[in-house]
Each structure stands twice: as structure tokens, then as C-alpha cells.
Symmetry: C2
Subunit: 341 residues, 2 copies
DNA sequence: CTTGATTATTAAAACGTTTTAAAATACCCC
DNA sequence: GGGGTATTTTAAAACGTTTTAATAATCAAG
């Protein structure tokens, strides 16, 4: 009895007792309910502060059914440099002064997104593991988008789907990226362009294709889609494919590389077969880090700001969770700070 | 009444009703309590499966006080390529079939870890936001380690502290990394070695220093710690500093670079001032991605497996949470798969 | 059969909130 | 002052678990 009073966790009950009020009143006061008298609200607020009260998340969650959790699905696909982290940094920044927590759920499921949204998302929705979901790498007819839209579960995708966009998304303007890249190369003398693309399943393949096609038509030059590898292939595979194609006599003289790994792999491949980048072959690389500012020889590059994308995703999701309609929650990132020389 | 039966969330109560048992029994049965008859245990298990029952995390958490959450603290420091993600991938893999969830908490706090463990960690412990914590970039006398050890809060650090290791950690064998790198360069003819180090506050600076010192003494060559920049500086700063030092007449002829950014920056700097890497200056770079396999000219490099580190951190933390003593939970990652030529 | 010990089940409390419905208090107007 | 309304507070239930203490069922042994 004369022991140190075991420092008990500050709870609404404790506040209520020291203030001589009921728990219900305390709860309302803390919530800023206008039905509570100003005086009591202030009193409660003060005591709460003194006691260092913080609401118990579990209790809130149990009572309200709201988890205060946002899930980020990490694709099983091998990591592009820092893709995940950059996005994560942005997301956490966007969530900073909400009190949502970001839970990272890897999707170790079967490789391709087929007709079903995958075990992870199904489980999240079914067991209400989160209030909202974030994911990337969308397909034109994305199973996850369909499923979540049907069930009315809040989410924001990184990447668009086809058709009427009835869901919230953040995307990069890949069409314009490809267009600007192509124009750049043409201005430097390229007449036969090529582009390395993501796998056919992913939506942004279409966007890239659209962009480069526009440029090619406008300037009346040749286009050859590079089909020895995709952006998802390993560096080794890309390197080999590039080497093979560009050693042939009718090689393109301009190549768009929408990723850092493919950029480096291509540089290595070209040098290995004795071609000089930016001379024999024009290159434009999309970078999401500062990597290519350090690479020699210098190549043209355009920057995609992933932290910013993450931030926007978080913001849109928060608005969605506040009840805004998904149709209004779109953000296409403009291509900024091109790094062309 | 004739509406579709609103599909109600499967709960222990529901199981109890359909089985004609009490909730308590169901709870025990699901927990595998031996006091429950085999027959009932099987029955309950079966019904649960049919109903697709999954325990409500909030309720469990409220009742038991266990959050089933592990927090990863993201340092405010600018991201090394993929550092966070690689670690995160590993961690999630390690947590895969536990039912802990990984929550990412960025530490936007003041730059340096001073005498207090920081707002984030304090809050996590005080409000029991998680059952365990993971963080990186330890200092010899780390405030977080001290605080968490004192309060008995389970954690695993990436990086060691000084003295008797009474806490759980995972670390990379930086001493050996520096030693092997140095020996390599000496074998290739270098006689005046240098090394780029992390800021003095971080423990692994000592390890690197120890390693290179050992080599230098053993082979009786010269050592000059590079002090124009640290590993934490921006690529630009490192590049400038390298350029400055290596343009001077008495420059070192071997340089250890414990990071990808510094590796690239150095390559760029040397080339810019007309020096040939691996000829005028020997380099060994530590890489955590496959990056340097693609960089030309090729340089020697040694690989640090971050996903593996993350996996180990998760495993150790799980063991800690199961009650094992922290003194026994250590893992120093050996340097593996050197990529020397 | 009883008794006493095992074994198996249950009722009820508790975790910390939010919220519904009811009760208490204050206020106003005639 | 009395009656009604508006304002403020409260008691109690509920969310879905786990667990303590008590009860019911089974069984061995005398």
C-alpha cells in the first residue's frame, strides 16, 4: 500500500475521476462535442494534457470499427532502386498529421495479377484489417481495382486503368515523358527511335507507346518497339538483349529507357560493343533517384518524383476516407525538372 | 426480415451459437487449450474454418494488451539507394508467418540522436503502440538503446553499440569489409590508402577504421582518412571533395567507399579530373544492390545483403518477443560474395 | 451408492472506448 | 412560481476477445 503507486496508464476513466465527471462526458469533451459546456471541455482538455492521456487505439478500433490503418501492398516484383522506399517516405509524410498508421503488406502471391485481386487484398477487406489500401502497377482491367470498387473499399492506385476512371489514382505522365524524350532525341539527330517497355499487362505501357508514337508521327521518323526484353527483366537480360539488337547493322539511333536499371544496363551494353552513348545512340533515361547525375558518360534524363507521388496518394486516400467521391480524386504528375543537356 | 441476411462478421459468439457451446469454450478451443476435450476442439476448429473466422485484432489487443505490431523507425536521413525497402522486404519476409504487422514510422525529429531517444520511440513505448521496435544507424552510446533497454522494451537494432552487448542487434561485418578491401587494393599495388567514413557519431565508423587500420599495419602501407566529406553528405558534396583531394599531388592511390552513392560520386569525380579508376586509383565499393555490376568502368565491389539483414532482424525480434534474453540475440553478417576481379 | 478428485464447460468480468436513451439541470416566458 | 424548452450530464450497453472463478459432468475408489 505504501508502494510507489504503480504508474497507471492514463485513461478516460482516470480523467473522469479526477474531474468528477462521467466517462461519457469526458469522451465527448475530448471529441469536441458541442453539446458539452465550454468550461467542462476546457477542464477535461487540461487534465488530459497533464496526465499525458492518449486514446487507446485498440479500444477505439473495437468500438468504432475503424482501424486507423492504411495498408500499402508491396508487389512481389523485384525492386526497382528505391521505388518502394521513396513511395513510402512520401506516404508517411502525407500521413504525418493524420493519425493513420501505415502497415506494409508484401504480396508474396502468385506472380501475375490474374482475375482475382489476390489473397492479401481479399483478406484485408474481408477481415477489415485496414481502412484503406494503396498499391501500384495497375493493369488496364485491374482485378484489384474492380474488386475494391465493387466492395466500396477506399483505395488509391499508383497507375491508371482503362476507360472511365471511377476510382482514385495517382499516376505519372508517361505519355508526355515518352513524347518529350522522343522529341529530344530527334532534335539531336535520331531518325530511328526505339523504346524499352514494361510487360504488356501494365497500363503504362500503353501510355509510353502513345507518347512516342505521337512524336514519331509528328516528326515523321521511324519507330521500332524494343522487344528483346521488358522493363521487368533482370539487368543481365536487358543488357544481353540490348547488346544483341544494337550489334546488328540496322540498329536504332535513339532509345527511350523508362527506368534506372535499364538505363545502366543499356549503357554497359553499348559500351561493351563499342558504341558511344549520346553519339552513336541517343538515350533518354527516366530516373527516380539522383543516380544519373553521377553516371559518366552523361546521358539525358527526366526525373520522376516518387516521394511526391506517395504524398499525393496519401492525401487522396485521406480525402477518400473523409467521404469524397473517388471520381474526383485524380492526380497525374506532370513531368518536371527535365535534365536534358 | 425477408431481406438477405446481412452477412455478419464471423465471431466467436457465432461459432459458439452454431456449436451450442459458450464463448469461453470456443476461445479456449481456438487457442488449443488442453483443458478442452479433443472432440470439441475439433468441432470448433471446423466450424471456424467453415465460417471463415478470423480473430478480431482490436479485441485481442484490447484484452491482452499485446498490439501484434512491430514498428520500424525510418531515419530522417536521406535515403541510400533502396536501403529502407531492402530492409523492409527482408523484415516482412521474416514476419510472414507470424501474425505481427509491420508499421513504418518515419522519424521526422531533430537531425542528430542526442541524449534522448526521440519523440517517436518515446511515444511508441509510452502509449504501447507496438510490441517491438526496429531501427538502424546506431551510435556507440545510443540513446535509443539505453532507453529501450532500461524500460525493457523489446527491440533489435541494425548496428552495434559500444561495450558489452546486452541488447539484440544485427550488424554487417564492416571491420572485415574494410580489411578485405584494403588488402585487395594493396595486392593491386596501392601504397597509400584512404577511406570515406560515416559521421563520427555512428558506431560503424569505428569498425571500418579498425578494419583498414589492421590491414595497413599488417602490410606496412600508409593510411589517410578521407575527411573532405562523410558518407552522409550529398553526392555533390562528395564529388567535389574527392575532386579536390585527388587533384592534389600527394593523393592516395587506393580508396574504400562503403556505399553506392559515394562510389558513383567518386567515379564521376575521378573521371572529371582525368584519373582512371582501378589504374591511377584503386577502388573498392560496398554495394547493396546490383548497381555496380552495370557500372563502367568496372570497379571492385563487395556486397551487403540488406534483405537478409532485415530477415534476421525480424527473426531475432520474434525470439525476443517469445521471451529469449537479448544477450543471446546477436547476428553479425559475414561479408559474402565479394565481387573482386 | 456416496465421496472426493479429475476433467470439461460455463457465466461473468474486464480491457477502454463511443453512443443511445434517459435523466438532471438551467433557462425563459408568461 | 409553474410549465415548457433548451442545455448539459449521466448511466448503461456494446464492440470481440481472454481469463478467473465457479459449476457441471465424469470417473475411481471405498
Amino acid at each position: 500500500m505504501t508502494h510507489d503507486a504503480q504508474v497507471q496508464k492514463p485513461t478516460q476513466k482516470l480523467i473522469a475521476e479526477t474531474a468528477g465527471l462521467s466517462v461519457g462526458t469526458v469522451s465527448r469533451a475530448l471529441a469536441g462535442d458541442p453539446k458539452i459546456a465550454d468550461a467542462t471541455r476546457r477542464l477535461v482538455g487540461q487534465i488530459a494534457a497533464e496526465l499525458g492521456y492518449a486514446p487507446d487505439r485498440a479500444a477505439q478500433r473495437l468500438r468504432t470499427g475503424k482501424t486507423q490503418v492504411i495498408n500499402l501492398i508491396l508487389p512481389p516484383h523485384d525492386e526497382i532502386f528505391g521505388f518502394g522506399t521513396s513511395l513510402i517516405r512520401g506516404i508517411t509524410r502525407g500521413l504525418e498529421d493524420s493519425n493513420y498508421h501505415l502497415v506494409v503488406m508484401p504480396d508474396f502471391g502468385p506472380d501475375v495479377t490474374r482475375d482475382d485481386p489476390g489473397e492479401v487484398i481479399t483478406r484485408i477487406v474481408k477481415n477489415r484489417l485496414a481502412d484503406g489500401i494503396l498499391f501500384s502497377r495497375t493493369e488496364p482491367n485491374d482485378a484489384r481495382v474492380r474488386f475494391l470498387t465493387e466492395t466500396g473499399f477506399p483505395f488509391v492506385s499508383h497507375g491508371r486503368t482503362e476507360g472511365k476512371h471511377t476510382h482514385a489514382f495517382v499516376d505519372y505522365d508517361n505519355t508526355n515523358f515518352a513524347y518529350k524524350s522522343a522529341v529530344r532525341m530527334i532534335q539531336k539527330g535520331a531518325r530511328k527511335l526505339s523504346i524499352l517497355l514494361p510487360p504488356p499487362t501494365l497500363t503504362f505501357r500503353q501510355h509510353l507507346l502513345q507518347g512516342i508514337t505521337n512524336a514519331v508521327r509528328e516528326y515523321n521518323v521511324e519507330l521500332e518497339v524494343f522487344n528483346g526484353a521488358t522493363l521487368d527483366n533482370s539487368a543481365d537480360q536487358i543488357e544481353a538483349a540490348i547488346r544483341h539488337r544494337f550489334a546488328a547493322p540496322d540498329r536504332p539511333d535513339g532509345l527511350v529507357l523508362p527506368g534506372e536499371v535499364s538505363g545502366l544496363a543499356t549503357l554497359a551494353a553499348l559500351q561493351d560493343i563499342g558504341l558511344t552513348p549520346q553519339k552513336d545512340v541517343q538515350l533518354v533515361v527516366k530516373q527516380t533517384t539522383g543516380l544519373f547525375d553521377l553516371v559518366r558518360p552523361r546521358v539525358d534524363c527526366i526525373f520522376e518524383d516518387l516521394p511526391e507521388a506517395g504524398l499525393q496518394m496519401a492525401r487522396l486516400l485521406l480525402r477518400r476516407l473523409r467521404g469524397e467521391a473517388p471520381e474526383t480524386l485524380h492526380y497525374v504528375q506532370p513531368i518536371s525538372s527535365a535534365n536534358l543537356q
